[in-house]
Symmetry: C2
Subunit: 254 residues, 2 copies
């Protein structure tokens, strides 16, 4: 039973999220169907991050076991064939050790959030960015972002339904960068609470508009109270861009 | 009758092109309807470049006359309101001298062509790039591109139906750049022949794959024969990014 690790890109717009649910199309469900159509037997697919409805991925990672030794290139080609016309693509595929787990072996997750600050609606980037009418001070946003880096109780930035055991997380990086007329927020951590990136971006937008100061963000963080959070940023601007693993987890001993 | 100059972004996918035609939705037609819905009288809208079906714009320019002096900000807001849900957005609006003509006053047009070289289908960038299965040597493409820069007879790179009086054009810039896993071809000239950018990109792709050498591209250019052109690149990867005007054409004497 060789274990395969795939890297996946998807447009989250038509999905109710990553995880299989009672109702609605999911990314996980679409992958399971495509893999089963190719190999003819039931498979389980496990992802590194359970992205919400409308959230995109450029580098989601998942694993599954096949009953025989297929060439990884053939697996990727066949799964992509059966995924059509769903907006999901396998962009990488390799055989990994049996102990590899896309979720539990991950040591870092990277997210990108794209904001388009302009009056006109987003058309070329519809469903790909958060279009905000106000000009935003990205330098002030980046300065403020640094108060969230490090180990904190992120209760303020955590969705009501979050199932994590602890609200204490270590944020490795939170950077706000101006690029091609957009504002990009890049976030890196071992793991995130449910809605944490979108909650942090919502607060940073308040800073960028001049509604919040850096002190307001510190106060919101220290309140450890969901009601201290600014309006949560919409799903469409968020991308799971990369998941990191230790070399030992992915290198197959042959 | 003040004259307004607007800068427009659009997703070309659902349109049969810029120019109003007997059948099918056009960008020009959608703009005319939106402006008329706002001002209540008939208008004519003239664009700088007549983009083909499926070709996008980040910086198309057009002009029209209104019967009274509206604030340009209000004009942009109102036209954007009436354009919905068409994927067209007015991203800039100003009053210009009566002699301004979006097409004839233009001194330079800039196009971008995006190629995504990978096996997996384009999903996040579906209808936004040309996905090619082969790896492409962008350095070889950029070197070869330079043989098209300057004044040449571009008959090889001209669509059969092209209405330009002469096939002789001066190409100011043709640069091939690797960016974020894509290959971008940037082209600048006072004006282009019909399908010229897509024809040149089709030939550069042949160079990138190693099917054509630089000498093959020179031979194709010098043949001045449409049948010497490689397969024309598809519309979806092409963007009209910017149109330049002399300051005197757009500065209003008040």
């Amino acid at each position: 039973m060789p274990r395969y690790c795939i890297t996946i890109e998807y447009d989250g717009t038509p999905f109710v999220g990553w995880q299989v649910q009672a109702d609605g199309e999911t990314v996980q469900g679409s992958l399971v169907r495509a893999i089963e159509a190719f190999c003819g037997v039931a498979v389980q697919v496990r992802g590194a991050g359970r992205t919400d409805a409308g959230v995109h991925a450029r580098g989601q990672v998942a694993h599954f076991d096949l009953s025989r030794d297929w060439d990884p290139f053939r697996v990727a080609e066949a799964v992509n064939f059966h995924l059509r016309p769903s907006p999901i693509a396998v962009i990488g595929c390799r055989v990994v050790p049996d102990a590899f787990d896309a979720r539990f072996s991950a040591i870092r997750r990277h997210y990108l959030y794209r904001i388009l600050p302009r009056r006109a609606p987003a058309v070329l980037e519809a469903n790909r960015v958060w279009r905000v009418s106000q000009a935003l001070d990205h330098t002030a946003m980046d300065e403020a972002a640094q108060v969230l880096v490090g180990q904190h109780d992120f209760t303020t930035f955590r969705a009501a339904g979050c199932q994590a055991k602890s609200p204490i997380k270590t944020l490795d990086r939170l950077a706000v960068i101006a690029r091609d007329g957009e504002i990009h927020v890049a976030a890196t951590a071992r793991s995130f609470l449910h809605n944490q990136v979108r909650s942090m971006v919502g607060c940073l937008k308040a800073v960028g508009e001049g509604k919040w100061t850096c002190s307001d963000l510190i106060a919101a963080r220290d309140a450890c109270d969901r009601s201290a959070c600014a309006a949560v940023a919409p799903a469409a601007g968020l991308y799971l861009t990369q998941v990191d693993y230790p070399d030992a987890a992915t290198e197959r001993v042959t």
